[in-house]
Symmetry: C2
Subunit: 223 residues, 2 copies
């Protein structure tokens, strides 16, 4: 239930942009866009794509419904832009920060830390869940995400681990072949939280640490 009361409510949006200006500044336009996307994230992640109502998105963004259509041509595009806008930047950061000769242990540690700090409990977790649950119905999104994040992530992991494998770390070769095994507990954490979080909370931190422990305990080179 969005409170539709107070008509004259003085919203604290810095750039009100009023009803019109000869040309809105790009910053104001961007800000509006961001506000709409934030509202969309909330509504979509609460109800899923099909059951989400654009009336709710508009209300939550403090905007009229018609305004949405000034920024996005239709519901599906809004949804796609939503996923695009939240997930793209994160991976870039990790890739950028990874020097080509990072030790595998450090890389893995950084990888998991990034997930803990940048995804867990943030809007990105909700986006990720949205992607997981709706992605199969939006091939464009799945393809985009695969191209921009997944395949590049795989290459990144493989690059680091193949070197480790050549240096004799036994399980590195296996992980390099199936980087999904490295990521799997993160995915499960997101799903678990969405399904059973209320009933039976999961110690995600503990689980991820346990996972790394399992991997690295078998990663020690044989003496």
């Amino acid at each position: 239930m969005t409170v539709t009361g107070a008509p004259a409510a003085g919203d604290n949006i810095p750039v009100r942009a009023g009803r019109g200006r000869r040309k809105a500044s790009p910053e104001a336009t961007d800000e509006r866009r961001r506000i709409i996307l934030a509202a969309a994230l909330d509504v979509f992640s609460r109800h899923g794509f099909a059951a989400a109502r654009l009336d709710d998105v508009a209300a939550q963004a403090g905007v009229a419904k018609g305004t949405l259509y000034l920024y996005f041509p239709n519901k599906q595009t809004l949804f796609q832009e939503l996923i695009r806008s939240y997930l793209s930047p994160l991976f870039d950061k990790l890739a950028q920060e990874t020097p080509p000769d990072v030790p595998p242990q450090a890389f893995i540690a950084r990888f998991f830390e990034m997930f803990r700090t940048q995804v867990l409990g943030t809007e990105r977790q909700r986006i990720l869940h949205l992607l997981i649950s709706e992605g199969s119905r939006f091939p464009e999104i799945a393809e985009f995400y695969h191209r921009e994040v997944v395949s590049r992530g795989i290459e990144l992991v493989q690059g680091v681990l193949r070197r480790a494998a050549q240096e004799g770390v036994p399980s590195a070769a296996t992980l390099a072949q199936f980087p999904q095994l490295l990521v799997a507990p993160m995915i499960v954490a997101v799903i678990w939280d969405s399904l059973f979080g209320r009933i039976h909370p999961l110690d995600v931190d503990g689980m991820l640490k346990a996972h790394v422990r399992l991997l690295t305990s078998s990663e020690e080179p044989k003496p």
Copy 2:
């Protein structure tokens, strides 16, 4: 609920008249139900709950729309029964087959084999995906599934692995604490297939074997 017991039993009770069409046999009713559920699986898994049309379910089942409502009171219940009916029996089988003193390696092997043969590529995979993607919007289903399958599965795994841990298998204790780590690659396999299956198929068999290899390589007792 009229329990139609054996007719020859109590004899002429206030029987007013025995005219008319007889009640459909339980087998026939069950069969119809199964047909409707099969159609529902197809339609729901293709479009998701909200976007699935009961007109389509009816058409696919070769039945009029009104007939659906003779078997299920509404769309949501149909959906819930769908998930219930497909997933419940599987776990029972695994639990039943597991003797209390099974060696951990054998148990794990059986566990993964079961997933490969009973879930991968079957309707159960589609149901599982449906559960993952829609479950958060159906607390009843999530709770049911947690109670009937997940928590029992956890206990089963813990039972086996705790014994192993006491016998000195080093990583067994960790896995017993987070059985999710054992299952994670299966979940990822299902999600990967739904999102990227077309773009970039995953060698699930290979991945699962690799996973078991990683786990058991660190499970060897230290000499």
